[in-house]
Symmetry: C2
């Protein structure tokens, strides 16, 4: 028998069919036609000025509070460079985005991992850590459709985090790349916009999920003095980010292409999530998960003692990839896994869950 | 009397009239049409694969020896991160590119500045420093149409540098963004290609000068193990560089658009250099300079004791910008200045040198 065609629940990326390629091509044409100098020439580290203004308007802040970067990971790296030194304490969620853990460890930060609950970080545990003497410089929080957790931070917890940030003098890094691809439920306000947010939050987002990942355009919004220091770091790193890409994004945003693109993405993701949740309930009733209201990821906890590494190997034998839960923790996650439903069709999802169920049964 | 229209000899960037905007727009169209997945999706830190292959072929090396980055400054930053730690000694030319000095100082490197002569770095002074015990990790060398010096490293000095690198065990960072815009004289081989180059050289170049600066695509070529370590640093920094921009560059290179673009740039730069040199000889006979055979920059030494800061101020009063020589040295350069002729028309050059002569006469 031939090996089955591989199916990947591993990579957090859209499938090509939900990327607005034709609209992007039109935006690229418009960029070179409408602003050849701004598109082709050096910019400065603040980013392409009209896009910076579009972002500032979207968030209702002056342009001085915005820096547009080569993707939001680069933005994270600049922020960490600006405010995290070796030995500094940093709060992260457990589980959290694996590359954030890597970056912070690379800087020599002392990481304090606080459990993630179904409605976001465990603020009681966080407060206890603070009461017990922890004095973090920064708390890294993914508020919407968490990667990898799939969950969303509740409104009371958003407010509580801001209170704790004010009381204990730390910065909240609100890392929010998925916010605009909510496909169910009601949007919650950003911590950036809540009382205290202007002082205690640096907000990051990206066009990777709304335009396309290959465009690599992200941004930070924060207090003007801190953004000013980050602009200096960016200048010394690369003089200016990609003007061609930012000019294309600007045209895409301002032409209205964005709205149609986001609607397409949301419809596809909702359908994929629905199929994934239904198949999991039917085929793997042991799997516990929070149904995501947006984003790319669903997090599964299997019964304690389930050997995630063995499951990973058994799934791989059946042509199925996912990311092991342990990748998102300093310790733990052994019986958990992350499934990305963004890059697979409903048919692949049904087939993939079948393979996962088969692998699970084989343990 | 109204203030005269400002003229800038300060910024090392082309004027828009010599950028192939229409060809770039066509390349962008082709990128989205011919390879929508490769253009729109995440890549990996090695860069857009077909462009990496094009670069590898150009340099006659396996693709594993190439990483394509968001501009060559970002490439420099990765290389420095990989091989320069605080306290390490690094050789630089004096004068040298100001941002290289900043980056190296930022990393805490101990900088050893070796004078630049009309045919490149003073290899006798460098050898003496090595004989006297200096043990650098790295030597940063700009071989062609030096920024800011305008000069080109001679063939014997290229060979001597490779001998010294082998004898004293340091890496040569051959920083070569201008090589393809030689408009006079005969090309010299890259140190990368000379005996010993494969072991002792990491080579950097860029498409900023041949495609356009806003595209921010650069690259490194070096030993596969070192490039592999740099790929890991790049992965942790931004996952992947800009795929849209790299796919556009790839189309531009492979469609033949590049050849026409370079011819246009060379013709314009040659004319601008000719006008600049002729005007300087006529209007400021005191100015000593090496006539550049390519690139963007001409370096002027005025008689010792000339107050470059006062000249800068007097020129600014007359609506003329340049960069003071002191910006390119740790110490010295007080009676020198850098003139960029890349972004100004022949008419502006004549007028600008007139203002400079007037400012100089006013001191």
């Amino acid at each position: 028998m031939a090996d089955p065609a591989p199916i990947s629940f591993a990579r957090g990326a859209p499938s090509l069919d939900i990327v607005a390629v034709d609209e992007l091509r039109a935006a690229a044409n418009a960029a070179f036609e409408n602003d050849p100098a701004g598109t082709c020439m050096y910019g400065t580290a603040i980013g392409y000025v009209p896009l910076r203004e579009w972002i500032a308007e979207k968030h209702g802040v002056p342009a001085e509070q915005v820096i547009v970067t080569n993707g939001s990971m680069q933005a994270d790296a600049f922020l960490f460079q600006e405010c995290v030194a070796a030995g500094d304490k940093v709060i992260v969620e457990a589980p959290t985005y694996d590359r954030t853990l890597l970056s912070l460890k690379g800087l020599g930060a002392e990481i304090i991992a606080i459990p993630l609950e179904d409605d976001g970080i465990d603020v009681v545990a966080l407060e206890q850590a603070l009461v017990d003497g922890a004095r973090p410089k920064l708390a890294h929080i993914i508020p919407n459709f968490h990667n990898p957790g799939g969950c969303t931070l509740s409104m009371p917890k958003r407010q509580k985090l801001l209170e704790l940030a004010a009381a204990y003098g730390f910065l909240i890094f609100e890392d929010d790349p998925y916010v605009d691809i909510r496909f169910a439920g009601e949007p919650l306000p950003r911590m950036l916009e809540l009382p205290g947010g202007a002082e205690h939050v640096v907000y990051a987002s990206s066009f990777s999920k709304t335009v396309c990942p290959g465009i690599r355009v992200g941004y930070l919004v924060g207090p003007a003095d801190r953004i000013g220091r980050i602009v200096k770091i960016a200048t010394n790193t690369y003089i200016s980010p990609n003007m061609v890409a930012e000019s294309i994004v600007n045209q895409f945003c301002r032409s209205g292409g964005m709205d149609g693109a986001i609607a397409t993405v949301k419809d596809a993701l909702r359908e994929r999530r629905d199929v994934l949740c239904a198949e999991l309930r039917t085929q793997i009733p042991d799997a516990k998960f929070v149904e995501p209201e947006g984003g790319y990821f669903l997090w599964i906890d299997l019964p304690e003692g389930t050997d995630g590494a063995a499951l990973f190997a058994a799934a791989a034998e059946r042509g199925l990839q996912f990311v092991k839960g342990t990748d998102f923790f300093l310790d733990g996650g052994g019986s958990s896994l992350r499934l990305a439903y963004s890059g697979v069709t409903p048919e692949q999802i049904s087939e993939g869950v079948g393979r996962l169920a088969d692998a699970y049964a084989s343990l």
